[in-house]
Amino acid sequence: MATAVDVATATTDVLAYYGSGCLVGIAVRETVGTNPAAVQVRDGDSVGGDVIAMGSVAANGIVYVPVPAVNFQTGLFVDRSGTGSSEVILYLL
């Protein structure tokens, strides 16, 4: 059963999960409704971590991305850019 890690809506970067694990899905929602938001999910505890998955979501948009199970070692760092505000949910095993 996958566990959902909810990253509250914001424009700033955040360490969403610390420790190793397996990522199986990502959902991203833009919440302000005027600009798109871009998100990079990194394996690490900072913007220096390797990017695992990346993409963007349109203003008011939502994307759900089931991914092949990806192991990560250090943690999951959500690196946000763009002017939109995004809520991110990471699904882990």
């Binding site: 990502i26 871009a38 990079q40 390797d50 990017v51 695992i52 998955a53 990346m54 993409g55 963007s56 994307v63 759900y64 991305v65 089931p66 991914v67 092949p68 990806v70 850019s81």
Partner: protein, 181 residues
């Protein structure tokens, strides 16, 4: 820039000495165009070509992009971009067959700027088999320009075993140079 035919008129004139230069050039242009259509790419070297891959329906992410070209020689610096974000060269691998493996999962359009294909002039580095196919096909066109498959005249009838006006006979030789999208 005009694409270079796969064989020269002088090559064809060795096989068919009665053909004029202009006719040989025309036939080789037509034949080369048909071969390019069959292969799915133009074969000639392209520098800094740009290919944009949109996520196909039913797929949620990209982790691999197959470029519409072979003999990939380089990916431009900062040439792999996912939705406006440039990937570092450590975030992808590419093969000479034109396959770019992304080490990230991209849920948006991926754009790649690359150099691929074969230099055609002054030195022609295209695989020699393409020259051979072009000359064979051109010879068939010259011998049977309307693609007749059988005919009968008086008491004589002749049937050709295959449609000699197509490239079907050359499929096996062309297969290694096809790209599919």
């Amino acid at each position: 820039m005009a694409l270079v035919p796969f064989a020269k008129p002088s090559d064809l004139k060795i096989l068919a000495p009665a053909v004029t230069d202009e006719y040989a050039e025309l036939v080789l242009d037509l034949v080369s165009g048909t071969i390019r259509n069959a292969l799915g790419w133009n074969v000639d070297k392209e520098v800094d070509a740009v290919y944009t891959k949109v996520i196909p329906a039913g797929q949620t992410y990209l982790d691999c992009v197959v470029l519409p070209a072979l003999n990939l020689t380089s990916i431009k610096s900062n040439g792999v971009v996912v939705d406006g974000i440039t990937l570092a060269s450590t975030e992808y691998d590419a093969t000479s067959a034109g396959v770019v493996y992304l080490k990230v999962l991209a849920w948006q359009t991926v754009s790649i700027t690359y150099t691929a294909g074969y230099q055609r002039a002054p030195l022609d580095t295209a695989p020699p088999v393409l020259r051979s196919v072009a000359l064979d096909y051109a010879s068939r066109m010259l011998g049977n320009p309307s693609g007749v498959r059988s005919y009968a005249m008086g008491g004589t009838a002749e049937t050709f075993g295959e449609d000699i006006s197509t490239l079907a006979a050359d499929d096996e030789r062309l297969d290694p140079f096809r790209v599919t999208q």
